[in-house]
């Protein structure tokens, strides 16, 4: 590999050598000195043109020798005059010496020299062009001569001014091609003669030093040689103006004067007159104008005005200008424009502008009436807002943006004819920024905050979804059974369902306390019948009830409970001492009387339930008893409100009396009970049914109810003034809800299977407890009795509503379902 490389090197060398030899570029080509030049004889430079460089970097060296010496020098300065040049400064420049200059190009193969150039510094000088050429015409004795003057070219500093330049001048008419050249000599001016009048000539000059070269031509100067034979051009009347409607002035623009002094004459004639007048006053209004004073100014007269320009060659007259002074009135701008910012208390600041008519205008005579227009804009604004003011000399502006600087200008115009004056000088006013800026900031903050709140609200709404909606719009509670597997319910396996609820076996015990009942209002179909049979009375009852609050709500509401408790506390103290009727009257209007006596007609069931619970599971009757107390509290009110015996109340009262023996409820409730008893006793009209019921109840104590079937009852929570409804859910069609008529059917829903949603009580028929017909009959009888006894308004029971007694007792809020087991024995 290395051998191969080594062997290839000589070949490459050989090849390259032959190539170089072949093309003959081994040495650099011959350079050529192109020129040597001196600007001012003190220094000079030489430039050369390099020959072909042979493809290699080449150095150029300039050698020179002087004719008086043998020594050969090298160029002192290769740089100053640019590449491929040599600059000889003052010290190297000798006058009257011939330089022998050669340039040698050198590269690594060899060198090549240019032909020698012999240079006489004096004769290589090429100065710059002369400057400041000016042309001037002089006319003497009708002959026009042209004088050309110029200055020598400017020299570099330090150079002495001893040079003598020779000048040459050339000129030609503009339209011709051929220059006429004149040798001027050493003067810097020249008089060109015999120029053709009416032609435009161009002139140039150049200069030279001794035997040097001519400079370039100077820039051309042109001059119009006046013809000298023509009259002046036509002048033009520019305009006429009357500043005060009393005098007027006309101005004209002169045309070319034809090279001769020209006189201008204004001539005018008035309408209806043949005579031609000359301008009365050329001076007052300045050059090229004519001023007509009051004496010479007539209104409602048309002036025909012409201007005549005259020189010795002739004259020329302008086009006529017709003027009715009425139409050319243009007043001066209004003066003394003042801007004042007024700040009245409790009102927005406003701007008052005042001004005065132009001093020339005599508005007081009535001869001239001025109308004004003002314009304003914010300092940085683009467009002016223009307001026509009319003849008044002040204006108030109200709607200005605070915090801005305004520019105001005013101009004026005669009322009918004439034109607007110039705008008055600009006046500035700074409108102070008022509180509104602060106000705006406040509003912005409020806006931002509120939008933020809205954003958060909507965000939470999205996040929480249904919960928020439910919070704002609570759902109408539907009948629901808590803890029930709906699937099981659908399949109808009630046993499994029950076992799932953990309430298996009978008798149900209080260990099913987790089944919470808060309220239970029961209604059966018979209630409806009763309602139908006594619609008027029901309505009467409804009308009597002043409590618009829902029974449930009032029972439920924690805030109301203490109140009720208080009332129930106070009531008993009254009751025993007072007459029953009075009590009734006192309580007739009380709002809470009906809270737990929602169904006035529903007698049988509640009684039954009450009886059952009290008799069957006395131990577990603590809470139910409180319900009962509650109802007894309520009951007498209704009862007493009727003239008849409140059987139910008494009955319940009795019941409660019994229950109280087992109850641990607080004395308050017992007081109620006592009160109830008192009421009961005081009532001489005790119906026999009461006794009967009592007896029934007593007999029921020892008996159980065995429901034949397991069905479900939903007790709908109902408003206090509505009827409680116990809804039967047949397992055959679980979706269907029937009103269950307790007395009429053989099914007894004695067992609370569960409580749903705190307000739905699920009852189930007790399969073990035997439902004897005996138990039904008295109930029926009782209900009939009650009906007969016209105690329909008597709300005979209050079953589930959580009474204040219950709450106050501090007892469990759970209800033993067994307490609702009806027993009809």
């Amino acid at each position: 590999m290395t051998q191969k490389f080594i062997s290839s090197v000589p070949i490459i060398l050989l090849l390259s050598l032959t190539t170089v030899c072949l093309f003959g570029q081994q040495f650099p080509g011959k350079p050529k000195i192109t020129r040597c030049r001196s600007l001012e004889k003190d220094t000079f430079s030489c430039w050369w043109k390099p020959g072909p460089d042979g493809g290699l970097p080449t150095n150029y060296t300039l050698f020179y020798s002087k004719d008086s010496e043998e020594t050969v020098y090298e160029c002192p300065d290769y740089r100053t005059s640019g590449p491929n040049s040599c600059y000889f400064d003052k010290t190297y420049t000798n006058h009257r010496t011939t330089y022998n200059i050669t340039v040698m190009a050198t590269n690594e193969f060899g060198s090549n020299s240019s032909d020698p150039q012999y240079v006489d510094v004096t004769c290589i000088v090429q100065p710059d062009s002369p400057v400041d050429l000016s042309l001037e015409m002089t006319t003497s004795a009708g002959v026009t001569d042209l004088w050309a003057k110029w200055s020598p070219p400017p020299l570099a500093e330090n150079s002495s001014n001893w040079h003598v330049y020779h000048y040459e001048l050339r000129f030609k008419p503009e339209e011709e091609e051929k220059w006429e050249t004149v040798s001027v000599g050493v003067q810097t001016q020249y008089k060109v003669m015999n120029l053709n009048a009416g032609l435009k000539y161009g002139v140039q000059v150049r200069c030279m030093l001794d035997c040097g070269e001519w400079s370039g031509w100077s820039p051309e100067r042109q001059i119009q040689i006046p013809s000298g034979q023509s009259p002046p051009e036509k002048p033009t009347i520019i305009k006429c103006r009357s500043p005060e409607k009393e005098t007027f002035t006309c101005w004209w623009k002169p045309g070319s004067d034809g090279g001769h002094p020209t006189n201008y004459t204004l001539l005018y004639s008035k309408e209806g007159e043949e005579q031609i007048y000359e301008c009365p006053d050329y001076r007052t209004a300045g050059p090229n104008s004519c001023y007509f004073d009051k004496k010479h100014t007539s209104f409602w007269t048309i002036y025909n005005i012409t201007v005549k320009a005259t020189n010795k060659m002739g004259s020329n007259t302008s086009d006529p200008h017709y003027v009715d002074v009425t139409y050319i009135v243009q007043p001066d701008a209004p003066v003394n424009v003042t801007l004042e910012l007024k700040k009245p208390i409790n009102r927005k600041p406003y701007l008052v502008l005042t001004w005065f008519p132009p001093p020339l205008a005599d508005v007081r005579s009535g001869w001239l009436t001025l109308e004004y227009e003002l314009r304003l804009k914010p300092e940085e604004g683009e467009e002016w807002e223009t307001i026509f003011v009319g003849q008044q000399t002040q204006y108030k502006m109200f709607s200005l943006n605070p915090g801005k600087k305004y520019i105001v200008q005013i101009h004026c115009k005669p009322d009918h004819h004439g034109s607007w004056s110039e705008w008055s000088s600009e006046k500035y006013i700074q409108i102070p920024s008022d509180y509104r800026v602060k106000d705006m900031i406040v509003w912005i903050i409020v806006g931002v905050l509120s939008s933020l709140i809205c954003l958060i609200m909507s965000w939470t709404m999205v996040l929480k979804g249904y919960r928020m909606i439910a919070f704002i719009l609570p759902p109408v509670p539907g009948p629901k059974i808590k803890g029930i597997d709906t699937h099981l319910l659908e399949t109808g396996k009630s046993e499994e369902l029950l076992s799932a609820l953990g309430c298996h076996g009978f008798p149900p015990t209080s260990d099913c306390e987790e089944l919470l009942i808060e309220y239970l209002e029961v209604e059966d179909s018979e209630d409806q019948q009763l309602q139908q049979s006594h619609p008027s009375k029901n309505t009467r009852l409804a009308s009597k009830e002043t409590d618009s609050d829902s029974g449930r709500g009032s029972c439920d509401s924690p805030s109301l409970l203490p109140e009720k408790g208080r009332e129930s506390r106070t009531l008993p103290s009254k009751l025993p001492s007072q007459d029953v009727r009075e009590v009734h009257e006192n309580n007739a209007g009380s709002g809470w009387e009906t809270q737990c006596v929602a169904s006035s007609e529903d007698r049988a069931l509640p009684f039954n339930i009450a009886g059952t619970k009290s008799s069957t599971w006395p131990a577990a009757n603590i809470h139910p008893s409180t319900f009962a107390y509650h109802s007894t509290v309520d009951a007498p009110k209704i009862t007493l409100s009727t003239t008849n015996v409140n059987v139910a109340a008494v009955l319940v009262g009795n019941e409660e009396k019994h229950q109280s023996q087992y109850s641990t409820s607080e004395t308050l409730c017992e007081e109620n009970l006592e009160k109830q008893r008192a009421v009961e006793k005081m009532h001489s009209k005790n119906d026999q049914s009461t006794i009967q019921v009592n007896q029934n109840r007593l007999s029921e104590k020892s008996s159980f109810l065995n429901a034949k079937l397991m069905d479900y009852v939903e007790v709908h929570k109902i408003r206090q003034d509505e009827d409680a409804a116990v809804l039967l859910k047949h397992k055959e069609n679980s979706g269907k809800i029937e009103k269950y008529t307790i007395p009429g059917t053989s099914k007894e829903y004695t067992k609370v299977s569960t409580v749903v949603d705190h307000n739905i009580l699920v009852l189930m028929p007790d399969s073990r407890g035997q439902h004897t017909p005996v138990s039904q009959e008295p109930a029926k009888e009782m209900s009939q009795n009650l009906q007969q006894g016209q105690v329909e308004k008597n709300l005979s029971y209050c079953l589930p509503a959580p009474s204040e007694c219950q709450r106050e007792a501090g007892g469990s809020e759970y209800m033993d379902p067994s307490s609702f087991m009806p027993s009809f024995k």
Binding site: K294, T297, W300, Y327, S365, G366, W367, D415
Partner: protein, 223 residues
Amino acid sequence: RARGRPQERGSPAGAAALWLLWLVSRAAARAACPPGDTGCRLLSVSDLFDRVIRHSGRIHAELEKHFPPRGNELGRPARKCHTSRMATPKGKELAQNLPREELTHLILKLLQAWKEPLSHFNQHIEHHQELSDDSLSKAKQISNMVHELKTGVEKVTEKMQSMGIISNSLNGMASSEAAGLSISNEANLMSDSDFIHCFRRDSNKVQSYLKILKCRIMPENSC
């Protein structure tokens, strides 16, 4: 104290009555302008003047709006207004130096001189090919306005004469009416544009003279 009450009540009542009397007398003075009250007199004349000046201004505005001067109007040769023979002051000082009566007379004369030509102009609409129908209806309107203006100036003149501001010697009125008739024939021969030009000029004259007259008589009143 009980005695003092009627007195107390009496004095304000009396004052009120006096005040009322003063008010009524003032109002009466204002309405009737008794001969001694020059200020009152001048005020009403000034109002009348303002009214006629405003009216003449309206005529002028209508003219400018519907018969604007044409660009070459001034340069037209050989125009002669029929009123140009009337010697009217052609400058502020001339007008100011003219006696009030003469100036008033002049105004009336000018208006009178246009009465017949204007009605003639409107009666021979078919001759005015230069003008559009709209312009002709305007011409009629303007003609009516001129008539109203003349009535108004006559009212002011009467008022001034009655108040002694100008003398009653409006001599030569009848003769000028005769002259007006003769020159109105001249006017009827004018071209439409000349007619309008001349009328514009004279209406401007009338307004200027009215203003001068007003400011001479009542220099303090918005002059």
